[in-house]
């Protein structure tokens, strides 16, 4: 009887504040349930490793009575900043930090300049068919893995059969690798960047160009005074992101394209390959050193993106990322 009453009561109830509130509560619960899989993933895969960085300050070792993620962290002794000594030891660390930043700086400048230039050229091509065709072709490398892309490079540099084999023993000689890696990076990402800019340019009101042309503005002037200023927010956002990642390297590029060749390391070792190499090495405490290096990288990266964003926000709040 009570049950029936309850159900009836629910149907009979007029739309009071109370029922509205309970409907909203139900909605909140339902949506929160939807968020759970993603939230749990973020907590476990992204946030737990952030707790794991305490290893960087520890002499991390398995806790024998109860080895495991938490047991090891709680029971390993702290050693202060000892694991960060790698930064001050020898040129190897400084060399790879320099490489990482230098490569990324080159990548950022070239991708932006060439990407915008290509995008402008594409929009000036009258034939829709060719404009689409070119975009289709140049977007293709974006979908190729670095493993396969390294085969593409290999076909040119391979020591016995490669097209450029006669020039030098490419995989033994660091000369030329900055150019090769920069080209490989541009080959893979320029099409993507270019298409993002093409989309931004396509959004510009054609009337502005026509008005400018009637007033006698040349193409150059139109590009300079209409196109560039309009896509500036897009350029700035992509560059904030890129500057924020200036200390992060594309592992696949530097690991696969170089075939992880030892003699090239002076010119091709970057932060991510360095951390990986330290991690898999069998030296005592290697995991701690690698954690310290990774934490150092994350902190610098965080400072860079916050810094870049703060600077942009100061100049023009509308262009900042957050």
């Amino acid at each position: 009887m009570i049950v029936t009453e309850g159900v009836e009561g629910l149907f009979m109830q007029p739309l009071t504040l109370n029922s509205k509130r309970s409907a909203r509560f139900k909605k909140t619960i339902a949506i929160t349930v939807m968020m759970l899989p993603g939230a749990i993933w973020l907590l476990v895969i992204r946030y737990l490793p952030m707790i794991g960085v305490v290893m960087a300050f520890q002499n991390h070792r398995p806790y024998v009575p109860n080895p495991g993620f938490w047991g090891n962290i709680i029971n390993s002794p702290f050693v202060g900043l000892r694991n960060f000594q790698f930064i001050f030891f020898g040129d190897r660390a400084w060399n790879m930090i320099f490489n990482t930043i230098a490569y990324n700086a080159f990548f950022i400048v070239l991708t932006t300049v060439l990407g915008v230039a290509l995008a402008i050229l594409i929009t000036e091509i009258g034939s829709k068919f060719f404009a689409k065709l070119y975009q289709t072709l140049m977007f293709f490398p974006f979908f190729i893995s670095w493993v396969v892309a390294s085969y593409f490079v290999f076909a040119f540099l391979e020591p016995t059969f490669g097209l450029l084999a006669h020039v030098r023993e490419w995989y033994m000689d660091p000369t030329g690798w900055p150019v090769i890696l920069t080209s490989a990076h541009l080959w893979k990402t320029l099409g993507y960047t270019c298409i993002v800019y093409v989309a931004a340019i396509a959004g510009i009101d054609q009337g502005m160009y026509e008005a400018a042309a009637i007033d006698g503005a040349s193409k150059w002037k139109q590009v300079w005074h209409i196109t560039i200023p309009t896509i500036k927010p897009m350029i700035i956002i992509l560059n904030i992101l890129a500057v924020g990642r200036i200390i992060m390297a594309d592992f696949g590029l530097f690991w696969n394209v170089t075939m992880d060749s030892g003699p090239l390391q002076r010119a091709t070792e970057v932060f991510d390959t360095y951390v990986y190499r330290v991690m898999i090495s069998n030296v005592a405490g290697a995991m701690d050193f690698a954690t310290a290096a990774g934490l150092f990288q994350s902190i610098i990266g965080f400072i860079c993106i916050m810094g870049a964003n703060a600077i942009v926000r100061k100049i023009n709040p509308e262009n900042s990322l957050f």
């Binding site: 895969i45 290893m55 090891n72 293709f140 026509e210 060749s261």
Partner: protein, 303 residues
């Protein structure tokens, strides 16, 4: 004809346009020439390789390399199966997560929206680094040497969630959902029977990006998988090349007599394998790239 002429107002001169064709077209060609080149190498016979090396115009064209690739038998099929399994299951699960998470970030009147936005956004700015991540997957979740080690780490991509959220925002009027609510439609039904059908292009976009990400992944296999029956195609290809290079570099140390050259995969065979990996992407590519471009341009709009 008059109409045509009018169109050339405010266009660059024909000579400049021709120059643009050369520059842009040249770059476009550079983008696919390496692919064409390895296809040619994959079809090149051993004799032609020995005499003129890699060439765009081989003296001898054969299917031998592809036959050899398919004769790799077990390992090839296993890896092929692994790649397909990882791609399908991974894409399905990550789409499910993204569709639901993006919904919460989009729905007005959801009080925890800000919290979940920050929860996700912060991970795009800061991370724990490689080693703690490896330890979490291997020691805490015990996923080392399982196929899930190559699926779980990529189940969520914050950037894709943002694209989808923006897509919902621009394409679905919220009033529609409120109307559904008033009609007694719960949030789950609203999402899956109203939002999802309307957001199909956006879902297709991130679905394709995700699928390609899974298909192309070798990194998580490198980190977590030693069991040869679990490795995906990309990793198989990478490993073959690495082993060949290692042997070549250390041939004087190992001693040539200790190597059975007949057992080593030939150059042509490896190139054929690279072609086999790219073919699914290359064929599907012209169809899906339009989706991705449109999805990206909508998703790239800043809030």
């Amino acid at each position: 004809m008059a109409g045509r002429k009018k169109f050339r107002i405010n266009k660059v001169s024909r000579a400049s346009e021709a120059l643009f064709h050369v520059i842009v077209g040249g770059f476009a060609l550079i983008c696919i020439i390496p692919f064409v080149f390895i296809i040619i190498i994959a079809f090149t016979g051993a004799e032609s390789l020995r005499t003129i090396g890699y060439s765009f115009f081989p003296a001898e064209v054969t299917m031998v390399n592809f036959n050899a690739a398919f004769e790799l038998g077990d390992q090839l099929w296993r890896s092929f199966y692994n790649s397909i399994f990882i791609t399908f299951i991974g894409t399905f699960l990550s789409l499910l997560i993204a569709i639901m998470y993006a919904y919460g970030l989009y729905r007005t009147g959801y009080p925890l929206k800000k919290f979940f936005t920050i929860l996700m956004f912060f991970t795009m700015l800061f991370g724990g680094g490689l080693v703690p991540f490896v330890i979490v997957i291997r020691n805490l979740l015990n996923l080392g040497d399982t196929i899930w080690a190559m699926i779980v780490p990529m189940l969520m991509a914050p950037f894709n969630v943002i694209i989808l959220r923006t897509f919902y925002k621009t394409c679905i009027p919220e009033s529609l959902l409120d109307a559904a609510n008033i009609d007694g439609c719960g949030e789950f039904r609203t999402l899956f029977s109203i939002v999802v059908p309307l957001a199909k292009p956006g879902i297709a976009t991130i679905g394709l990006l995700t699928a390609i990400g899974f298909w192309n992944d070798w990194w998580h296999a490198l980190l977590f998988v030693r069991d040869r029956s679990l490795i995906p195609l990309q990793f198989l290809l990478m490993e073959m090349q690495r082993n060949m290079e290692f042997i070549r570099r250390n041939i004087t140390m190992i001693g040539a007599e200790n190597i059975n050259f007949a057992d080593l995969p030939t150059q042509g065979l490896r190139m054929a394998l690279a072609v086999i990996i790219v073919v699914p992407i290359a064929f599907a590519y012209p169809f899906f790239q339009r989706y991705i471009i449109s999805g990206m341009t909508i998703g790239a709009v800043k809030e």
